[in-house]
């Protein structure tokens, strides 16, 4: 009897302790939100909704609007996904299905090593290696022959939205790659063999298996990569050109929300500081919306996949 009540009280204590830890996490999030909101109030009062539609950023005259930063954050992240998702999924399939055993572990090890490199190193490498290569080998010829497409309009300087997108892509590849590999590993070997034994080619086998099993997982991996891309600061600010304007061309400069905070926070005061904090709040909201949207889509995909089986 005594032993059992002891057990129950231990259970009780454990439950309360874990509830406490959970509430700490919740409390921190709420506190973060509350402080950001409080500090951004002066800017919110002054500019209101015009803050997210205005494109002016003038610290001298204290006129602030966040649209170019929101645009830059979203466009650079989407560019990164467009490059990183096909690359990582293709690489994951190769490593798991086609690569000879001696190649598997070095390739995946190197890919995962990419995740361990600090972002400031990526930024430096971006300035000194990636940007000159992109500029001379891709952007200059592209603008020469395809310059009539607004997307590729010059002049070409180097630091640009495209450079930021490519650099972000390289940074998020290891995340998407390793999660995609985990997802591929969950496919039962017998199912793959079943497709092959019915006379399916390897391509058909992969198409069926990935279509049936892996789309939700790959989608989840993509969202993980997107989350990282949205918040990336140092590497982006070093190659994006830091110009608060909206251009149709990806060869032109841009600015991201995280970058402007990192750039101007230390020396800002008054309304500028408040506006920067408001951008921080918006960045939090953008991330939240993207994640919630992704969750919703994910559950729909999962439901559809479940019906398909």
């Amino acid at each position: 009897m005594a032993a059992r009540s002891g057990k129950i009280s231990k259970d009780f204590a454990f439950e309360k302790a874990s509830a406490f830890f959970a509430s700490v996490v919740l409390f921190l999030t709420v506190l973060l939100f509350a402080v950001l909101l409080r500090e951004s109030l002066p800017a919110l009062r002054k500019f209101g909704a015009s803050f997210i539609v205005s494109g002016t950023w003038d610290p001298v005259r204290e006129q602030f609007g966040a649209l170019p930063f929101i645009y830059g954050t979203l466009v650079s992240s989407i560019l990164a996904l467009l490059i990183a998702v096909p690359l990582s999924v293709g690489a994951a399939i190769f490593i798991d299905e086609f690569a000879p055993p001696w190649l598997k572990s070095p390739v995946s090890l190197l890919a995962e090593l990419l995740a361990a490199i600090p972002s400031v190193i990526y930024g430096l490498w971006g300035i000194f290696v990636l940007v000159p290569i992109l500029r001379d080998a891709f952007m200059k010829p592209a603008t020469k022959y395809l310059g009539w497409i607004p997307l590729f309009k010059g002049p070409v300087y180097g630091p640009s939205m495209l450079a930021a997108g490519v650099l972000l892509a390289i940074m998020i590849i290891p995340f998407i790659l390793s999660v995609t590999r985990e997802v591929l590993a969950t496919v039962p070997q017998r199912q793959k063999e079943a497709v092959l034994s019915l006379g399916g080619t390897r391509w058909e086998m992969l198409r069926i298996v990935i279509g049936q099993h892996c789309v939700p997982g790959i989608f989840g991996a993509t969202v993980l990569g997107l989350g990282r891309a949205l918040g990336e600061t140092m590497a982006v600010t070093m190659v994006i050109g830091n110009r608060p304007e909206i251009f149709a061309s990806v060869f032109q400069q841009g600015y991201s929300m995280a970058a402007v905070i990192a750039n101007e926070f230390a020396e800002a005061g008054g309304l500028q500081l408040s506006s920067l904090i408001l951008i921080g709040l918006l960045l939090m909201l953008v991330t939240l919306i993207v994640n919630l949207g992704a969750k919703g889509m994910l559950s729909r995909i999962v439901a559809r996949a479940a019906r398909g089986i």
Partner: protein, 351 residues
């Protein structure tokens, strides 16, 4: 009553010993805390090291968090001294708990760097050309207005890629202050400050960011600190100064700018050395200051601070050139010395 066990006794002894060490610490060196500008950080580090070697009673802890941070911390009273490259505004001065003194320590210069393959250092620019380039009105290197000043060289038929700082900085403050002083259109359109709304150009974070853009981009032009340009050996432009002479940015030319305004230097030293008179004066220069409260709260700390500042404007000045800082001209140093006498504790000078 319980008997004190062996371990407890050892523990008590240890506590007593550590208390002795702590109380002994009051005879340890005085730790002066400071925070602020990054630009003079290498100079201050050298000074703190040399000064503490000569005066073991005082040590320094300096956080180079930026001028804005230095002003915030001295305002909040969390440091013994602040440091800044841009003088405090009247509004900022009102927020402090007492009168603040700006003590000039050194001079910095902002220089124009560029990346043109076939053209060496010393490209000649006038104030209007520079403003025109930063306003986006002069966009090609072979613009007749640039060519007119540089007849000896063939300028390339290429875009000028304009680079500027993306982070808020004292360097930008000095540079835009200069453009505002020499060009009315710039003053009306962009104005001056630690960060401004640039009409054109790429933003680089820090001196290294601007230098990176300029070095990596053919046809680029940007502005960085003199010390930085010297250390990484970039091509620098000569600029026409107020007296009409083309001057190359050097430490001497920077000191000449301060000498040019020495007579008209206000008593609080809150002055920008842009477009200074003098035939050899480099026109884009600025002071960097240490900020201290006039009325010190602790006589020992206040005394240590004043002693250090006295040393810095005399012996310290000799170390500036080796680290690529321009020393204060003699007339200015003498004026600073007078200001140091005003630092006091309960109305009594600590000099």
């Amino acid at each position: 009553m319980k008997r004190i066990s062996g371990t407890s006794r050892a523990l008590i002894a240890a506590v007593a010993l550590s208390l002795a060490v702590v109380s002994g610490a009051s005879a340890e060196p005085l730790m002066m805390n400071g925070a602020g500008a990054t630009f003079p950080y290498p100079l201050y580090s050298k000074w703190f090291y040399e000064y503490s070697n000569a005066n073991p009673g005082v040590r320094f802890n300096y956080q180079s968090i930026g001028s804005g941070g230095g002003i915030k911390q001295i305002t909040a009273g969390t440091v013994d001294f602040g440091a800044t490259d841009a003088p405090m505004t009247d509004e900022e001065m009102k927020k402090t708990s007492g009168p603040i003194l700006h003590i000039p320590m050194a001079l910095g210069a902002v220089v124009i760097v560029y990346n043109l393959d076939k053209i060496g250092t010393g490209l000649k620019l006038t104030p209007d050309l520079l403003a025109g380039i930063y306003l986006g009105k002069i966009t090609r290197w072979n613009d007749p207005k640039i060519a007119e000043q540089n007849k000896a060289v063939t300028l390339p038929n290429a875009d000028i890629v304009v680079a500027h700082r993306s982070d808020g900085s004292g360097t930008t403050d000095i540079f835009t202050n200069y453009l505002s002083a020499v060009n009315t259109e710039w003053r009306a359109k962009a104005g001056h400050g630690k960060s401004v709304n640039w009409p054109v150009g790429l933003g680089g974070k820090g001196n290294e960011g601007v230098a990176g853009v300029v070095k990596q981009t053919p046809g680029a032009l940007g502005y960085v600190e003199l010390a930085y340009a010297k250390q990484i050996k970039m091509k620098v432009a000569a600029l026409r100064n107020r007296d009409g002479n083309f001057v190359s940015p050097t430490l001497e030319a920077t000191s000449a700018a301060a000498a040019g305004v020495a007579k008209s230097m206000p008593d609080d030293f809150r002055v920008a050395l842009v477009n200074a008179p003098g035939k050899d004066a480099w026109p884009i220069a600025g002071l960097t200051w240490i900020l201290v409260y006039k009325d010190q709260k602790d006589p020992a700390r206040g005394k240590a601070m004043v002693q250090f500042l006295k040393w810095a404007i005399k012996d310290g000045q000799k170390m500036e050139a080796a680290l690529d800082y321009a020393a204060l001209p003699k007339a200015v140093a003498e004026k600073v010395d007078k200001t140091l006498r005003r630092i006091s504790f309960k109305g009594k000078s600590l000099y």
